[in-house]
């Protein structure tokens, strides 16, 4: 059940209606049933995986809670880690590891007979296993009391608004909210609905139309030239950002309708000036998860320089692998890690350079240069993220600027056909392309006006007439300009 489906449009109001009609102590059962139904609408059998993960972590948590010494709790943490990571390995990484080993053995002409595991990747497995792992680790560390109510704990693992693509919530934040009695709140309902509306706008008006164009290029890398690669990467940035942040907005909005506040996952990442800053603003729930449970346990930055750089690199390498089981993602993660290492090594040099040319960080030139730098690095990295295999990625990078000078010459000579030809065959009609471009401009205007602010908070400050007018404009964009006939699954569902 996709958030941008008619099914969800019926499901959500029905669950909300029942939720507020039920006595508070029964509401967890409704939410749990709704969450399981939501998950089962993808593949019925996979609910067993969530249940298994829930049972293991619930029992390990209880056991760890009963033991006072960290040393005594450790075996139960290991059981939880092995169960969750084992599940993840079996369903997500086994085939990748198996194929890599097969390729390696083939190099030495050694027979390798282990066959592939033909199974569909369970939706959201990387998200809910990480969420439940954070619970076990926090209980082990003594920061979280074990949850004794199995139903509430099961709901923590499977709460439907954030089940399949996050935000990856911490038990310390989500569990108390699920235990709490929520009264119907006008403010929560309206702000939740506004977030859903904004998320839908990003998803169906921007991400899905961008997706049509991006797929046309990336699915036939050898059939296009440099200018189309650059265009595809430009629109892919909008696609991924609007798809994932749109999903997060809908998730946060849906949760808010039940009185539950989920964490902010994006803070205008493309306004960053370095990749280090970018990763503090992009997929914050995952980045902070890696920071808390991998980077800091490795020693973080409070170690000798070489070890610090190693910690950064390894964290991003594993983050790449988290995203997908393929060499493309390993390279994607390694590339990000390498860029961050370079940023750390050149930090002082860069500061001296900007100061020598008398440009302060508050200067527009500094900001624009930084944003351009982030866009370029992001683009290079995401060639690996989006192409089907390494061959396509390398081909694309090698031919990234093929035909671009000729294209520019045609533009400068005033060739009236050049734009028409550039976009022809990329799957968008003129009307759809214009709708998309207007929507992107609208998005940027709203984001610029609300830098560092929640879009709903900004709306709250406006008089009702203006607020409603804004809602109608966004609604009109969605219903008349949305890519409903091209509806695509959310990109991060595959992880």
């Amino acid at each position: 059940m996709l958030f941008n489906s008619l099914q969800y449009c019926l499901f959500l109001p029905a669950v909300i209606g029942l939720y507020y009609l039920l006595p508070p102590r029964r509401r967890w059962a409704l939410l749990l049933a709704a969450s399981y139904y939501f998950y089962m609408s993808w593949k019925l059998e996979y609910i067993v995986l969530i249940m298994a993960s829930t049972a293991v972590d619930y029992l390990c948590g209880l056991k760890m809670g009963s033991l006072s010494e960290k040393r005594q709790r450790k075996p139960y943490l290991i059981i939880s880690l092995m169960a969750n990571l084992g599940l993840l390995f079996a369903f997500k990484y086994f085939n990748f590891a198996n194929e890599s080993l097969r390729a390696l053995f083939d190099q030495f002409n050694i027979f390798y007979g282990i066959s592939a595991f033909h199974v569909l990747l369970p939706v959201g497995i990387s998200f809910y296993t990480f969420q439940t792992l954070s619970y076990s680790i926090e209980v082990y560390r003594g920061n979280q009391k074990p949850e004794r109510h199995l139903g509430i704990f099961a709901l923590y693992v499977s709460f439907f608004p954030q089940l399949v693509a996050g935000p990856i919530e911490r038990s310390t934040s989500l569990l108390p909210q699920l235990e709490k009695e929520h009264r119907f709140s006008y403010a929560s309902m309206t702000s939740g609905l506004r977030l859903i509306l904004w998320g839908m706008f990003k998803k169906v008006v921007i991400a899905d139309w961008c997706g049509v164009l991006v797929s046309a290029v990336f699915n036939d890398v050898h059939g296009h030239d440099g200018i189309r690669y650059l265009l595809a990467l430009f629109f892919f940035a909008y696609q991924v950002y609007c798809d994932f942040s749109g999903y997060t907005d809908i998730a946060r909005g849906s949760a808010r309708l039940f009185g539950v506040e989920l964490m902010v996952n994006f803070r205008l990442p493309f306004y960053s000036k370095t990749m280090g800053e970018f990763w503090k603003r992009w997929h914050i729930s995952l980045t902070s998860w890696f920071k808390d449970y991998l980077y800091i346990p490795l020693g973080g930055s409070r170690v000798p320089m070489g070890r610090w750089l190693f910690n950064v690199f390894v964290t991003f390498l594993i983050s790449g692998l988290w995203h997908g089981a393929s060499w493309n993602f390993v390279i994607w993660g390694a590339f990000h890690g390498a860029v961050l290492v370079v940023e750390i090594l050149t930090m002082g040099w860069r500061e001296r350079f900007w100061s020598a040319i008398r440009i302060k960080p508050s200067n527009l030139v500094f900001k624009l240069w930084g944003m351009l730098y982030v866009q370029i690095i992001w683009g290079i990295a995401h060639v690996f993220f989006r192409t089907r295999d390494l061959g396509d990625a390398v081909y694309m990078l090698r031919h990234m600027f093929d035909g671009v000078p000729q294209w520019l010459a045609r533009v400068l000579s005033g060739d009236s056909l050049v734009l028409r030809q550039t976009f022809r065959g990329l799957g968008l009609s003129e009307r759809e392309l214009i709708t998309l471009l207007i929507a992107i401009v609208f998005l940027e205007m709203v984001q610029y006006m609300n830098r560092g602010d929640d879009v709903t908070a900004a709306l709250d400050r406006q008089p009702r007439v203006l607020r409603w007018a804004a809602y109608y404009v966004i609604l009109a964009f969605i219903v008349f300009g949305g890519a409903f006939n091209q509806a695509q699954q959310f990109i991060y569902f595959q992880f």
Partner: protein, 327 residues
């Protein structure tokens, strides 16, 4: 509780414009999707709506009255007169030729029609410029989406535009006239020949997807006893020459060789007295009424003067520029 009442009251108020719009769309129903309201006369709908989205008009009408014989393609196929084809072939046909249409739309329409009725005969009108990965316009997906979900029909941009024009026409008493390009015949000829052709031929890409999709169509037709044929529509010789000017000779050979694997190919696009005479054309792409009748009499009748019926070995020779007619 007060909060809930306020919320529901305001939500209802907020929804009023949406509900009003929905009711208006159901009442106007520009493409006769619901078929419950007769506020707008059918004649006016036919005049206005099919000019806005012929695919939607035709597909919705087809759903009501499916015919097992299909003509699929672009504006040149649209120019084939259904009545005349019926007169010559002896069976009724539905013409799904869409102005500016793509092979993608034709293939999608084929599958749409195959879900409505057991097809008997299918004829695709094709050319090199439509057998091109860069020519993949798609107006059929939105119709299919609208057919699956009435809400999408009501908010479809073409439906809303048609509704607006129908309301205007009812108020003004007559539909808004469709403008003609502000060019003389010669200027328009030149524009089509130079500008439009550049759009199609520059950056031509071999259509791997069309090859796969048409193979699937051909296999389906074979498996279901459907008579499948292709017509390479007769471009004017000046347009035929553009293939060479754009260095697409090999693509033209491949184009013909691909199609002969899927069914009989009636090739009209070669130099002869018909394709060499501007008087037989409205522009380099579009033939006139007499030529249309000749095509129909050739494909569904017995005339053979200006066609090459392609076999594998003939396709290569034809693409190489040999201009003899072959029976």
């Amino acid at each position: 509780m007060a909060d809930a009442k306020t919320f529901l009251r305001r939500l209802a108020l907020f929804s009023v414009p949406a509900v009003v719009c929905l009711v208006v769309m159901i009442m106007i129903d520009p493409f006769n999707f619901f078929g419950v309201s007769h506020v707008v006369p059918d004649g006016l709908k036919s005049e206005v709506s099919q000019k806005i989205n012929y695919a939607m008009w035709k597909m919705l009408a087809y759903r009501q009255d499916p015919v097992p014989n299909l003509l699929l393609g672009d504006s040149r196929v649209a120019d084939l007169d259904e009545q005349y084809v019926e007169e010559i072939s002896g069976v009724p046909w539905t013409n799904f030729g869409y102005g500016g249409g793509s092979l993608r739309e034709a293939i999608q329409t084929f599958w749409f029609a195959s879900e409505q009725v057991e097809l008997e005969r299918v004829c695709f009108g094709v050319n090199l410029h439509t057998y091109n990965a860069n020519n993949n316009k798609d107006r059929v997906s939105e119709v299919e989406a609208a057919l699956r979900n009435p809400l999408l029909y009501c908010v479809n941009a073409n439906v809303v535009t048609a509704a607006g024009k129908l309301i205007t026409a009812m108020i003004m008493g007559e539909p808004e006239p469709i403008g003609r390009p502000p060019m003389t015949r010669e200027e328009f000829w030149e524009f089509q020949l130079e500008q439009v052709t550049r759009v199609y031929f520059e950056g031509y890409r071999y259509p791997t997807e069309y090859h796969r999709d048409l193979t699937e169509v051909a296999e389906y037709c074979l498996g279901h006893g459907i008579e499948l044929s292709f017509v390479i529509m007769p471009n004017h010789v000046e347009l035929q020459a553009k293939v060479g000017e754009h260095g697409l000779e090999e693509a033209a050979v491949q184009f013909r060789q691909d199609f002969i694997h899927w069914g009989p190919v009636y090739d009209f696009a070669f130099p002869n007295t018909m394709t060499g005479d501007q008087a037989n054309y409205r522009d380099p792409y579009h033939f006139d009424e007499d030529f249309m009748q000749l095509i129909v009499r050739t494909v569904w009748g017995t005339e053979r003067d200006f066609v090459r019926i392609l076999e594998p070995e003939v396709a290569a020779a034809a693409a190489a520029g040999e201009d003899h007619a072959v029976q």
